[in-house]
Symmetry: C2
Subunit: 256 residues, 2 copies
């Protein structure tokens, strides 16, 4: 039995998310189907974490165990032949059997992209949230800085999610403007359910003048969901990096 | 009666092309339908030229005549309310009645994008042609330079297209690399049917080592379609600029 790890990219538009669900097609399910078609084994593919319906990934990590004798680095190309064009396995290799895509992950980075300008760009309509207004970027940047560090992010979790430890550490939290695109980058040791989308929703309301910039600090301190903003739409969100002690998707994807 | 001109952007993936066709939905048809829903007039919208099925536009130009009293600059937002999200009217204004989107056009610019790397990027799968090989960019650049100037481009037209003057002047013809994307930019006073896609197909065969770089010059001189390469797929192609004596889409879209 060998353990194989994968880096996977997907356009989440047409999926119910990463995880197998009864109500629609998931990325996990199609990866497992591709493996079944390829090597005839019913295999569970474990991801670094769920992504919601409509959320994208440039670098999701997953692992699975197999008895197949195929060279580990060939799985990427071979699986792609059994996958639709909106899911690509970008990398495959054998890893230590103690590696676990979810439990070994140390840090993840997400991006959330908004598009400025009078009209939505047709070419980014499924990967960026179009804003009809000119946001106050300086206020959003100030709010983003409050997120840095170790905090109880209880105010930034989906109200229906179950009890858990809601303390997380955020290592990067900033907006970067590139032409008409404004992208929020957030790196942390983990994220609560919907946390990034609620952080973004709060900052957009600050950028729109609906909330004072002090509301970000207030929500962090109070821990009340009602002090934070609305959950931003899924389609601007993208998982862009997962970091492990011995494995960094960014380093792997930047090779050659 | 007033004449209104538009700048339109579209993702051509789901369309039979610009022009109204019996076999599927066209961009022109949906613009005319949007105007009918908006002002109740059956109006012909004239474009700067056709784009094929699957070809995109960042800046197509069109005009129409109307009796409607709506402010000219409001047509963009109002039409967008009646259009699907893969078509956006980016700009509208009243113009001189002698302006004609097709006959007044002096120059057009197209881009053709290819994506390099082992695996196709899911986010550019409908706007860039993925190449499985590393092309010889220097050879492609040399071939691109042969295209510059005034030539008879008879070898670079669709073999079924009717007789016409096949002499065109090309003002820009170059490949530009940006990370994993390699984009061909070509500006000319006009293009024959399929000309850009056949130029690109020829350069890709040169870049792949299937043809010597001298084949570009040879095809230009012979005028034989069989001396040029295959027609490159539609989805890498995009109309990015149309220039008129008094109207430049690039200048308009770069305002503010």
């Amino acid at each position: 039995m060998r353990r194989i790890r994968l880096i996977i990219s997907y356009d989440g538009t047409d999926y119910v998310g990463w995880q197998v669900q009864p109500n629609g097609v998931s990325v996990q399910e199609l990866l497992e189907k591709a493996l079944f078609e390829l090597i005839g084994e019913q295999i569970r593919v474990e991801g670094s974490g769920r992504t919601d319906s409509g959320v994208h990934a440039k670098a999701q990590v997953a692992h699975f165990d197999t008895n197949a004798r195929m060279a580990a680095d060939k799985f990427a190309v071979a699986m792609n032949m059994h996958l639709p064009s909106d899911i690509r396995v970008l990398f495959s290799e054998e890893c230590d059997p103690t590696f676990h895509a979810r439990f070994s992950a140390k840090r993840k980075t997400y991006s959330y992209t908004v598009q400025l300008g009078a009209h939505a760009d047709v070419f980014s309509r499924s990967t960026a949230l179009h804003l009809h207004y000119k946001p106050d970027i300086e206020a959003m940047q100030t709010a983003a800085a409050c997120v840095l560090g170790t905090h109880d992010f209880n105010a930034f979790k989906c109200s229906g999610s179950k009890l858990e430890n809601t303390v997380r550490t955020v290592y990067r939290s900033e907006w970067i403007k590139d032409g008409k695109y404004l992208t929020y980058f957030v790196e942390g040791n983990g994220f609560l359910y919907n946390m990034v989308r609620i952080l973004v929703g709060t900052m957009l309301e600050i950028g729109n003048g609906k909330r004072p910039v002090s509301d970000m600090q207030k929500a962090i301190e109070s821990g009340n969901r009602s002090d934070a903003g609305a959950t931003a739409p899924a389609h601007g969100l993208c998982l862009i990096r997962v970091l492990y002690p011995e494995f960094d998707t960014e380093e792997v994807l930047n090779r050659d």
